[in-house]
Symmetry: C2
Subunit: 404 residues, 2 copies
């Protein structure tokens, strides 16, 4: 017997027929002899409607009231799924965030889970009852309802899995696993059986969008084994797990990309100590995320300094620089037609030459690299957006990832 | 300064524009220098949608899960109204049933309020904050969400008013008060300034449908002054209050009617001790409400026994009688084309001849009376449904209730 936490997103519980379908999947898991807790999102469209109401009444609304409103979507799904499970002859009951309780900080709208009392849930499951849990929500220290922000149900599922010491957390979604690259672009993309937390984290934050970043961080921290699989098929998914559990490690597990990149170059900056601080200090103060940073060596007392930020923050970043830049510079050049392509793999730690394979594959296709950035398990390059598909396919082949 | 509880029903908060409108009314009350708590229903249509989901998944659903689902409608309205009030510069916060808490028994779907902790609400109001409260819901002893049944928000409002020792409970609705009769039928119906709890209770249970019966019972028990008024006009409403507060008592305050009546006559029942018990015992056991009962005097050892029940329960009532009736009888005759017309007034206690005025007015119009039933402050008659309007108008005039 195993203890499993399952999570179904908004599309999977989008209407009454789909909720009934989810109930069948949950029942099947119980019939395999397992204890089951299910975390659900709001029916698709419901949260958007509730958010729209809040914005319509007042765009600058109180986040505590926003949370009271939008958290109801998940509560509805829990009740309906419990009813559907009972209709299949199963014992089941719904749990809101405050009933468990799932304690969070008071950052309403994007709260962080601080504690989960697993007692009630474990008692429920040990009595042969399926615990149906509202995702995305919790309760603050002063008894107000909080929400975790978009995609927060993944985090709820992983946190609950940690709290009830589950053997596995199955995240049902509209894709059937984690691929070596975006299947819509790389036609030969291959589904991975397993991927490490570290790789998944790089992948999530680099735009693969399968799991919410925070949920992967939490899974890594508590060593929760997470499986990503489709709620519309019976194919096996991808297991996100500890490196030790992966026997056949691949050098590179995936090629990802992110289009939400904008490049800013300060040309002819006077080269003196404190230049970088004078630029990035004000940007950090203004809460603007800066990703890749490159500073060229000095030439005739000036240097060029380039960094990337998200496209949505570009205008704000320029405003901050123009207002706060103390060091003389010649001009600012921006480019929104760039894309970041990354090669990810824990195998890099022990193998040299991984980056070189990337640079050669791109050079062979005459793709110019604007910026390079590396970490322990990834190499990222910024290139012109028009080469996105070409680069992805070339790298996918170069690292031997193509499906047979 | 007074402390006021206001209640707005589903039509009054039916969309974002109407919620903003309600916020203006609440603000106006605060600006008159009063402390205000507001009880709200779900936006119109929302509860029906949620109920439909439950029924679609399983008609025999768990009432506890039903409550978890349908209680969300009110929660959404509280958050939205709090946002709207803040948008007008007011301090406001939402309260769910479990946050207050409003304790109920565990009769899910039709729970009764057992206790309300007014502490938090009073503290909120005394700090100059408007308490926006979810109607229709509470929490059971084992931490599950309960609902009070349809129309339960009126009861919540009155119970909250009692708990916070409010000076008045204003029930905003789609009619602007309590009339001497149904304005749709009696064109000359007059709005009452005041009505006693007892009269309102008779009126509510006899089908006037302005306030939920249970809320009037609770108001009477705790002596909460309740005002019924329109959320769409500024006209003064009707105050439901203690008899002492009404200086100019009228003999009769209203003429009401109920179409939901069915008549059952057992013809030629053998007249022996225990006949009534042998009929009404089994009906009570089957939870069938019996209203008027008439037994004629015996003739040649047999008697006719007539009673009324609601139309929806008629078939079940007949089944129960046929299966359980031990005493011989000749036949059963039923009639669904009947209506109960009632004359209500606390003045009856001290005045004779009230019933006679009714009988004469009906006789003058050649309206035949099937059954008569009286209580301390009302006289009800069962007549053929086709005479409903004629009877109401005749009685309205006979008791001097017509508007000038």
């Amino acid at each position: 017997m195993a203890r499993i936490v399952q999570k179904f997103g908004g599309t999977s519980v989008g209407d009454v027929a789909r909720i009934k379908n989810v109930a069948k999947r949950v029942k099947a898991e119980v019939e395999r002899g397992n204890q089951v807790a299910v975390v659900v999102s709001a029916m698709s469209g419901v949260t958007n409607q509730l958010v729209a109401y809040c914005n319509e009444i007042s765009p600058m609304h109180d986040q505590r009231e926003y949370d009271a409103v939008v958290s109801t979507g998940e509560q509805v799904t829990t009740g309906l799924l419990a009813i559907a499970l009972q209709g299949l002859g199963m014992k089941a009951r719904s749990w809101t965030g405050w009933q468990i309780p799932i304690g969070t900080d008071d950052a309403h709208g994007k709260a962080r889970i601080e504690s989960i009392d697993g007692e009630g849930l474990i008692r429920c499951m040990e009595a042969g009852e399926i615990a149906v849990i509202a995702g995305f929500q919790g309760i603050t220290g002063d008894n107000r309802i909080s929400t975790l922000g978009r995609g927060g149900s993944d985090t709820t599922a992983v946190a609950v899995a940690a709290a009830v010491k589950a053997d596995r957390c199955d995240i049902y979604t509209d894709v059937d696993g984690v691929y070596t690259t975006d299947p819509r672009i790389g036609a030969t993309a291959r589904k991975l059986d397993k991927i490490t937390y570290e790789e998944m984290l790089e992948s999530a934050s680099l735009g693969a969008k399968v799991l919410q970043t925070r949920s992967v961080e939490m899974a890594m921290k508590h060593r929760v084994r997470v499986q990503v699989l489709s709620s519309f098929s019976d194919a096996p998914g991808t297991l996100v797990c500890d490196e030790d559990e992966i026997l056949e490690k691949e050098l590179v597990s995936g090629i990802t990309y992110s289009r939400d990149e904008a490049k800013v170059t300060l040309v002819g900056v006077q080269d003196q100590p404190g230049v970088a601080a004078s630029i990035f200090g004000p940007l950090a103060d203004a809460n603007i995320n800066v990703d890749m940073i490159v500073q060229n060596t000095s030439r005739e007392g000036t240097t060029d300094l380039t960094f990337t930020t998200s496209r949505g923050e570009l205008d704000r970043a320029l405003k901050v620089i123009k207002e706060s830049m103390k060091v003389p510079y010649a001009s600012i050049v921006t480019d929104k037609s760039v894309v970041k392509v990354s090669v990810i793999g824990v195998g890099m730690r022990s193998h040299a030459g991984v980056a070189q394979t990337m640079f050669k594959a791109l050079a062979d296709r005459k793709i110019n690299i604007h910026i390079i950035s590396t970490s322990e398990i990834k190499v990222s390059v910024l290139i012109s957006e028009e080469y996105t598909e070409l680069a992805l396919r070339a790298l996918h082949t170069a690292y031997g990832l193509d499906a047979a």
